[in-house]
């Protein structure tokens, strides 16, 4: 039968009729007649249309994948999977998340690093890391995320590694690097790194406004870090205006209202800072180290985004997310301070999750590697493959999926778009529609 594609969503809002297709990520405005035509279509033969207008409409809708047979939808799905697999097994791009230490100067109660072993990457391991990068002969480009622990505890190691990457023969081209830091150590040697090397982005996390933040992001003596981070951030933004800043505001049930306060603070105090990105980071339960955090469920996340839209914060159009998480990709590693290789940074410090070591240049845990590569992505999950929002699903945590599959966990794998019969998706699309209408009013014809 030929019907509305499973990737097509029909949205009616008062006298407006909208059609969205998640496979194409296209968005259409139609009239009532077209809307009903799509909604009611249920034919077995394309030749049933005698009316020229109906025929033309059908041809147009079919060419845009808005309508089609079950087999047509299967073909679209194959296309998605082909793209995912091409990306997943590419060897041209080497993606490294390097944790030069998993020690941290703070003691956030929910931190997934928990009581994992500490230590700092030594010179021999830094040298082995350089060898390891060179060993990837097919890699043309290199992308690095500095992570931890707190990576700014190790400016000398970062300096040493970057210097080698940029000066030694036989290295892939470093095309991107960022650093994830708590923002408390943006001084001295750490700032020198930013003077010496090009960083695309720095991510700093806040745990809400002052009161909330200072109960969680604390030094071992319990002292809060909000003021210090805000001062460092202000200084950093002025000194390095070209570096993209991403402020992640960790959100749970308790502090979810702080996000708006922080958002407005930065927008009012740094109105011309266009490479400043403030976004809510939804805390998820990453194991036993939750420190009493009250995590938001999907319906609450959906409600939060709806409220943000009502407050006038622009809601973005859905994006295709075909390639998935780095953990599902062959040429993507997380490297621990002793040269351990992992697929996911949540695994750092967990012996059973090590897939190898840069000293040995071999994979000795094919079980874990195989699970991430072959079972970690939504594109390999038979339930997800049936989902009408698979092409735009922005929840694709390989670690969560494998925890469910192999360790009896019950982690939420679906994205918030799906909640309540796709209400968030429809609201977001309506928000985009109204923004486009507003823009059109102010655009000279």
């Amino acid at each position: 039968m030929i019907t509305k594609s499973k990737y097509t969503f029909l949205i009616k809002d008062k006298d407006k009729f909208l059609v969205y297709n998640s496979f194409k990520n296209d968005f259409w405005e139609v009239n009532h007649e077209t809307f009903e035509f799509i909604q009611d279509l249920n034919i077995s033969d394309e030749k049933v249309f005698n009316d020229a207008e109906e025929r033309a409409l059908f041809d147009k809708l079919k060419s845009q994948s808005i309508v089609g047979s079950e087999q047509d939808d299967e073909t679209l799905l194959d296309e998605l999977r082909a793209k995912y697999l091409t990306s997943s097994f590419s060897k041209e791009r080497l993606l490294l998340t390097i944790a030069p230490t998993i020690s941290c100067n703070l003691r956030c109660p929910y931190c997934f690093e928990g009581n994992k072993p500490s230590g700092i990457m030594d010179k021999a391991t830094c040298d082995k890391l350089i060898e390891f990068i060179k060993y990837h002969k097919f890699a043309k480009s290199l992308q690095i995320s500095w992570f931890g622990g707190e990576p700014t505890l190790c400016p000398q190691q970062i300096d040493y590694i970057l210097d080698k990457i940029l000066t030694e023969e036989g290295m892939p081209k470093l095309v991107y690097q960022d650093i994830v830091t708590n923002g408390t150590r943006l001084t001295g040697e750490v700032l020198e790194l930013f003077e010496k090397y090009s960083f695309n982005m720095i991510q700093i996390t806040l745990d809400g406004w002052r009161t909330s933040h200072d109960t969680k992001r604390v030094y071992p003596n319990g002292k809060g870090t909000f003021e210090e981070i805000m001062e460092n951030l202000d200084f950093f933004m002025k000194k390095f205006p070209e570096v993209n800043i991403s402020i992640r505001v960790n959100i749970d049930k308790v502090n979810k209202d702080d996000f708006m306060k922080i958002f407005h603070f930065f927008k009012e105090n740094y109105p011309t800072k266009h490479n400043l990105n403030i976004y809510p980071g939804i805390l998820k339960n990453c194991g036993s180290f939750n420190g009493g955090t009250k995590f938001l469920c999907n319906s609450e996340i959906s409600e939060m985004y709806t409220n943000m839209a009502k407050e006038g914060i622009m809601v973005s159009y859905p994006k295709h997310h075909i390639c998935g998480c780095g953990a599902n990709h062959l040429s993507c590693y997380v490297i621990g301070p002793k040269g351990e290789l992992y697929k996911c940074w949540q695994d750092v410090g967990i012996k059973d999750q090590e897939i190898g070591n840069i000293y040995e240049k071999k994979i000795f845990n094919q079980k874990v590697l195989g699970r991430y590569l072959l079972h970690g992505a939504n594109m390999t999950d038979t339930t997800c493959l049936k989902c009408p929002i698979l092409p735009i699903c922005d929840s694709n945590c390989a670690n969560d999926r494998l925890m469910n599959l192999y360790h009896g966990a019950d982690k939420e794998l679906c994205c918030a778009y799906k909640e309540n019969d796709y209400s968030l998706l429809k609201e977001r699309l309506l928000g985009v529609y109204h923004q486009i209408q507003e823009q059109a009013k102010h655009t000279p014809s």
Binding site: N21, K24, D26, N31, E33, T34, E53, E54, L61, E79, K83, S90, E92, R93, L95, T97, Y110, C111, F112, S141, Q143, S145, W146, F147, V175, Y176, T205, S246, N250, N275, L276, N277, I278, Y279, P280, G281, I282, K284, C286, N298, I301, M314, S316, K319, H320, H321, I322, C323, G324, C325, G326, W345, Q346, D394, N396, C397, N399, C415, A416, I436
Partner: protein, 68 residues
């Protein structure tokens, strides 16, 4: 002028996934890639784990100022 019975106006055009695939196979730029052709993996803004270093790298987050 006669008004057409069926009206259909595209207001947002998404990506052409077929072209992306060809670009990936041939080594060109693909959807979600930087100008250097390096794909940045994104866990994205809605349900990503805390601290994920990848989730902001694409500058495609909900509140990205470049989208305003």
């Amino acid at each position: 002028m006669k008004k057409e019975k069926f009206q259909l106006q595209q207001i947002v055009k998404g990506n052409d996934l077929s072209q992306d695939l060809l670009a990936m196979i041939t080594g060109g730029f693909a959807q979600g890639s930087t100008e250097d052709g390096c794909i940045i993996f994104t866990c994205q803004d809605l349900t990503t784990c805390a601290h994920c270093p990848k989730d902001t790298a694409c500058s495609e987050n909900l509140l990205c100022p470049s989208k305003k």
